[in-house]
């Protein structure tokens, strides 16, 4: 076998300003030796043996896509379920069209019921009353009197079941009747009532074989989207050590074409430390477990306010449209105290923040820490970044912050949030990537999968177009440029993860990670970004086609 493999392409988009376009990439031992043309890389080819691989001669080589923020464990729970969402999901094993309207939703459940083996519980994910009308126990009983059916809400915070499921759960009905957030007659469990349902369902959905099957599906989803690196932005939702074991078993295999950068919680399930030293000791010990594909570093995760999909975001004035309240996931004083410990230890802090008050907590904390103990290149990153103001963006620029944005909110939620949660002005400006670009704040876009589809090109498309599911434009002034949108899934996403020396662009010495596209995104333009077919990926020099042959 030759020392060097030279991959030829119609176009190589390097994302390196010094040499933005090339024709060939020479690779040895999983790393790039040189980018250029066959002509310019001749010295290498004269010193070492080489072969030319022209598989991509009519295609476009991009740096391998990076999604810095998704959740494999949540996905592992969800992916064995059947999707019934109002917005379609193109999954590797099934292209699921949108399910809209009461009748279509019911038909989908009936079809699923007919397709499953007798006795297997039916878990359907993605019910939303705006699109599917109300769903209750009686309606589900008409789908099946014998098969347990669980219908999960798109926002994750409620579910509905049929009689067969109530029997299967062996529910304590007297307790359920006392519970203020269980409507037993309707078969509905919501908010804290979910805990009562999960008491019975958790064993089933977290069972090892099912969970690992879900995680393996996640593996396919990640490859399918064209990723070669992802960030698991909070390992340990359901038990840190169990999830770590599952990840090793499913992901750390020669046929897994991506690496996972893991970010630990700095509070929460594992965070019972008495002292700051204990907290730091735990966080700093994680990298000693690293394997080839699964790696911790010095990046840590914190939480400000509640989730965007769950509508638990904390808002500044004028608050929520309907008078509801968000939630703090960490007490603000505690947030600042923990951030100070992490900051002073030189760690890189990523903060989950959904609303502008959540952003304000993270931002005012960062400003204070910068004043107390200035740091350069600290990588303090605002994650999700749902609601914010342009003034907050300017302050972020002033203190050197980064952002990792869920742009997809615009596509699926902005119109619904305009009428139910935020009003039009704020809703049209969620995920304000245009302001970030103008202020010079480096940003990535992420999927937070399973919140949004794990499709970097689709997320870049939303960031650059701000089109909604219905085809409306929301906040044209907050569009990202084409170049910023592409950087948000390549070089800047790598920067957010602290991996810019290793991945994110194509130049000598970097990992030979490519995403291979059937068209050049800089040629097709912003409107068509999401429609570019993906041939597959190259991970550390090895080709992984999406389709055989």
């Amino acid at each position: 076998m030759a020392d060097i493999t030279v991959f030829l392409a119609r176009t190589v988009r390097t994302m390196e300003p010094s040499l933005p376009v090339a024709e060939a990439v020479a690779v040895q031992g999983g790393r790039i030796v040189e980018v250029g043309t066959l002509e310019t890389m001749r010295p290498w080819l004269e010193f070492r043996s080489h072969e030319v691989d022209d598989t991509f001669k009519d295609l476009c080589i991009m740096p391998g896509f990076v999604d810095p923020h998704l959740h494999p464990s949540m996905a592992a729970i969800l992916l064995p379920m059947h999707f019934t969402t109002a917005v379609g999901w193109d999954l590797p094993w099934e292209d699921i069209g949108p399910v809209t309207g009461d009748e279509q939703f019911r038909t989908r459940l009936v079809d699923l019921d007919a397709s499953l083996p007798t006795g297997e519980p039916l878990f359907a994910f993605g019910h939303h009353p705006i699109w599917h009308g109300p769903i209750d126990r009686n309606a589900l009983n008409q789908v099946s009197a014998t098969r347990p059916i669980v219908v999960w809400h798109r926002g994750y915070h409620s579910l509905a079941v049929n009689d067969a499921c109530l029997r299967w759960m062996r529910l304590d009905t007297a307790a359920a009747r006392r519970h203020p957030q269980v409507d037993l007659d309707a078969g509905r469990f919501f908010e804290t009532g979910l805990g009562l349902a999960l008491r019975h369902l958790r064993g089933f959905i977290l069972e090892e074989v099912r969970f690992r099957r879900g995680l393996d599906r996640m593996r396919q989803v990640i490859h399918h989207g064209g990723h070669t690196t992802i960030g698991d932005a909070a390992l340990g939702f359901y038990g840190f050590e169990e999830e770590w074991d599952h990840l090793q078993a499913v992901m750390e295999r020669p046929d897994t074409p991506f690496r996972v950068q893991l970010m630990p919680f700095t509070m929460g399930p594992e965070g019972d430390e008495r002292t700051d030293e204990e907290l730091l000791e735990r966080v700093l010990a994680y990298p000693s477990r690293n394997t080839h594909r699964l790696r911790f570093s010095d990046h840590v995760k914190m939480f400000a306010d509640g989730g965007f999909f769950a509508e638990l975001l904390m808002l500044k004035a004028p608050g929520h449209l309907d008078g509801r309240h968000g939630e703090w996931m960490t007490p603000p004083e505690r947030f600042e105290a923990i951030a100070r410990v992490l900051w002073n230890a030189g760690l890189k802090i990523h903060v989950h923040c959904s609303g502008d008050l959540g952003v304000e907590l993270a931002l005012s904390t960062l400003e204070r820490l910068q004043w107390e103990r200035p740091r350069f290149d600290h990588r303090f990153t605002f994650e999700h970044f749902g609601v914010s103001s342009s003034q907050q963006v300017d302050r972020m620029a002033a203190v050197g912050a980064l952002a990792s944005v869920n742009a997809y909110y615009v596509y699926e939620l902005s119109e619904a949030f305009a009428t139910s949660t935020l009003g039009y002005e704020r809703a049209s400006q969620i995920s304000r990537v245009g302001s970030l670009e103008r202020a010079g704040v480096r940003f990535a876009v992420h999927s937070d999968f399973p919140m949004a589809p794990a499709k970097p090109l689709n997320n870049a498309w939303v960031a650059a177009n701000r089109l909604t599911e219905s085809g409306a434009v929301m906040g044209a002034g907050e569009r990202a440029s084409l170049d910023a949108a592409i950087r948000a899934i390549t070089s800047n996403a790598a920067h957010v993860l602290g991996l810019e020396e290793e991945i994110g662009s194509l130049r000598w010495g970097k990992r030979a990670d490519f995403t291979v596209l059937e068209a050049d995104p800089y040629e097709v333009g912003v409107e068509a970004l999401r429609d570019i077919p993906i041939w597959g990926t190259v991970f550390e020099g090895e080709k992984f086609a999406l389709r055989d042959g």
Partner: protein
């Protein structure tokens, strides 16, 4: 069946309030005190609970067993699991106290107490730090949360009263009356022990008369609460009892008893904690000695037997 509980369900008391309001101090005292109850206390942060090592009988996983029969269990993000864990203990706890996280909406924690298999809600007690609560209520990050916590209270306990002057305290108490209308309000000073605030006195219906509920072992402490027994000739008018439960002064902390309503022919359990009151059918098997007896617990020196009884008899 849990001892002391007439309906077989373990009462759950939620102790809530923002950071620094004194929840952990209260929990530490409850665990250390010799009140004769098998309490299970669920806490967020094991590290903050400060129990004398000499009192610890056993430490297994997330649960700490004490020599006085109490247990302390870490919630570790899964309240339902922690409830299941302590409910499965042998013998079962007589009462469960949940320390809510400082940013929790007490209503959400209360929902667990109310609807988890084997439990029912006793009351939501919200602690308010006399020195800082008003400033916190104006804080841009937590102001709305702090006032919402107070609105959810059945009982408000004003803590750290020694750190403010008497006029300041009066100002805070007046402000709290606006924030948490209807909730019972009590103040707490250093050295005062108040298990009665938290403990549902299941044994009161056994026929205790006037007695001091505050710990006599602490010679320096003044009695803060006292109880009064009211005996009613049954059957009584339901509306009359409901009106009394609603209208008795806010210095009444707890009411518990068994009565027979006119025209119903059934025994009913009557309970009030702070402003939360309920009437429900009594379980079968209650002895004659229980019927018509109401135990009223309240601020010492404020309970006038004659007035309380008059409200019931009309």
């Amino acid at each position: 069946m849990a001892a002391g509980s007439l309906d077989g369900l373990v009462p759950v008391t939620v102790v809530a309030g923002y950071l620094g309001a004194g929840k952990t101090t209260l929990i530490n005292e409850l665990l250390a005190q010799d009140h004769g109850r098998r309490l299970a206390v669920l806490v967020n942060d094991f590290g903050a609970v400060n129990i004398d090592a000499a009192l610890i009988a056993e430490h297994t996983g997330r649960t700490l067993s004490l020599k006085n029969g109490c247990v302390c269990c870490s919630i570790a993000d899964e309240l339902g699991d922690a409830l299941d864990e302590v409910l499965s203990l042998e013998p079962a706890p007589e009462q469960i106290v949940i320390e809510a996280s400082g940013v929790a909406d007490p209503a959400k924690v209360a929902a667990y107490g109310q609807g988890w298999p084997g439990c029912r809600l006793d009351a939501v007690i919200v602690l308010a730090d006399a020195e800082t609560v008003r400033a916190r209520s104006r804080d841009q990050f937590v102001g709305e949360l702090v006032t919402r916590q107070l609105r959810r209270a059945d009982v408000v306990l004003v803590t750290k009263c020694d750190l403010v002057t008497d006029p300041e305290l009066a100002g805070v108490v007046g402000w709290l009356a606006e924030q948490a209308p209807g909730a019972a309000r009590f103040t707490r000073r250093a050295g005062q022990l108040d298990p009665a605030l938290v403990l549902e006195d299941g044994r009161a219906v056994e026929g205790t008369t006037r007695r001091r509920t505050l710990d006599d072992a602490d010679a320096g402490a003044q009695a803060v609460f006292e109880s009064v027994l009211i005996e009613l000739a049954c059957p009584v008018d339901r509306e009359r009892v409901e009106a009394a439960l609603r209208d008795w002064p806010q210095s009444v902390l707890r009411v518990k008893g068994v009565v027979e309503f006119r025209g119903s022919g059934k025994l009913h359990l009557v309970q009030r904690v702070g402003r939360r009151w309920r009437i429900e059918e009594a379980p079968a098997g209650l002895g004659q000695q229980h019927i018509g007896k109401l135990v009223v617990l309240g601020l010492s020196g404020t309970l006038h037997h004659g007035d309380l009884a008059a409200a019931l008899r009309g």
